[in-house]
């Protein structure tokens, strides 16, 4: 059984629902009409474009083009992490400290899953590689953004406590220990919640998609479990690397707290 194809008329029908919602929000002056419409438009354009890109990519499965696409995805994810922080680390450090961990964790786990666990032929088959990478990267991105934001904002808020500990001769790791653990915890809460709620509260999107396209439920479930574990590992690795890197960067070679290395407060 294949998937029931959708016509563009079907999409227009769904779009009127969004327009209806926009109309209601305008009537109630909720102040989100504009954002809602722009968001819907952006999603449509971005998805159509990525559909075209994937169509071309699937037709010419070359490692080079897949790598270009993958690096582009990392770049966008990094920008998103940066934009979601109130006071990110300034300069190239602010970018590298998220880009590096996102790259390392999502790439290594995607390659691991493709080569050892799933084993498509060829191993870089874009139908597997790109969605897999996208899911790992998307979740790692959210985790790193949450964790980094917590780390930098609480370092600013608790600067007096950190300084008091440094003044007593505590090494920076000790002066920051509570904050660092807290930030990693915040980063990992979404994936832990997602795993706890999976199948009971929510049917995960990938599994739903596979079932809609005719995959037997147990196959879809096995894939979903695999993806969940990969996501948990990718977010964990990315968050640990990014947060410890950022925490290190908050202190200089004399182990002084250097909040001047953060972007100035808006």
């Amino acid at each position: 059984m294949g998937v029931v194809p959708l016509s563009y008329v079907d999409l227009v029908l769904a779009a009127t629902l969004v327009l209806l919602l926009a109309g209601i929000s305008f009537a109630l002056s909720l102040g989100i009409t504009r954002d809602l419409l722009i968001g819907a438009l952006r999603a449509t354009v971005q998805l159509l474009l990525v559909g075209l890109v994937l169509k071309v990519l699937f037709a010419h499965a070359s490692v080079l083009w897949i790598s270009v696409m993958a690096l582009g995805m990392v770049a966008v994810a990094t920008r998103e992490v940066y934009a979601r922080q109130q006071r990110p680390l300034a300069g190239s450090w602010g970018i590298g400290v998220s880009a590096g961990p996102l790259f390392v964790s999502s790439f290594s786990l995607t390659v691991l899953a493709l080569l050892i666990i799933i084993g498509p032929d060829p191993w870089y088959l874009p139908q597997y590689a790109i969605p897999l990478l996208g899911m790992l990267l998307g979740n790692a991105m959210t985790a790193v953004a949450l964790g980094m934001d917590r780390l930098t904002t609480s370092a600013v808020q608790q600067r007096d406590q950190i300084d008091a500990r440094l003044a007593l001769g505590h090494p920076w790791q000790q002066a920051m220990s509570g904050l660092q653990q807290d930030s990693v915890r915040v980063a990992l809460v979404p994936i832990i919640n997602a795993m706890a709620a999976a199948g009971v509260v929510s049917l995960p999107g990938m599994m739903t998609g596979q079932i809609l396209s005719g995959t037997p439920p147990m196959e879809a479930v096995k894939y979903q479990i695999l993806i969940m574990f990969l996501i948990a590992a990718a977010t964990g690795i990315a968050a640990l690397l990014a947060i410890s890197g950022a925490a290190r960067r908050l202190f200089d070679e004399r182990q002084r707290l250097r909040l001047d290395r953060l972007q100035p407060a808006p």
């Binding site: 300084d163 004399r254 707290l257």
Partner: protein
């Protein structure tokens, strides 16, 4: 006289609020000596203390017991050069958790505190009690130099005298040096071995009884 702390053409690289930041400070503090530092608010006294404690970047040279600051790691330097801020900060709820080894009962009672305080929550203490405990917390490292930023600002007269006596006793027993930022002229007369005043971004040694300086608060 053998100096414990020597700073030369020394200044914080942090920008203060004052128009003329305290710069190119040259100062030596000898064994067993208590030096006071006075001056109007915002003239950079706190920044100078923070820079000496190596909590902020600085320029110039700083030596402790004849060795350049670079020969100590940051934490080693700060254990020997203890800085006590005007407002103490605490990172866990219970007072006792901030002391690797509990302070001696004598030291606690010298400051009008009892050992029970160690089992209490920081939030239940008065500002003055916290300030006295912050001093004890710092003395636990047996520092060679103590940098005190208006340590008696929130204490009543009696507690102020107790704290002065404790610092003096510590100086006598360890021969350490003290740099004390003080706003109160009568206190300066009581405690200072030498007194300095900030004038137009420079330190000037003054007679500790000199009454010229006007309180800024």
């Amino acid at each position: 006289m053998n100096s414990i702390l020597e700073i030369e053409r020394f200044a914080s690289r942090q920008h203060g609020l004052g128009n003329v930041p305290l710069s190119a400070v040259t100062l030596a503090i000898g064994a067993g000596e208590l030096v006071t530092l006075s001056g109007p608010s915002g003239c950079g006294k706190t920044l100078l203390l923070r820079a000496i404690a190596d909590l902020d970047p600085s320029i110039g040279t700083a030596m402790l017991d004849g060795k350049h600051r670079d020969q100590y790691s940051g934490p080693e330097w700060r254990r020997r050069v203890g800085f006590v801020a005007t407002e103490s900060a605490w990172w866990t709820a219970r007072v006792g958790d901030h002391f690797p080894t509990p302070p001696a009962g004598d030291d606690l009672s010298a400051l009008g505190l009892s050992a029970v305080v160690l089992t209490q929550d920081v939030s239940g203490l008065s500002t003055g009690e916290r300030q006295r405990l912050a001093l004890l917390r710092s003395l636990g490292n047996r520092p060679r130099i103590i940098l005190l930023d208006e340590p008696t600002a929130s204490l009543d007269h009696e507690s102020t005298l107790c704290l002065e006596a404790l610092v003096r006793a510590y100086i006598t027993s360890t021969r350490c040096g003290v740099l004390w930022v003080c706003h109160d002229l009568t206190q300066r007369q009581r405690i200072a071995d030498r007194a300095f005043q900030v004038d137009d971004g420079a330190l000037r040694q003054v007679d500790k009884t000199e009454p010229k300086w006007v309180l800024s608060h």
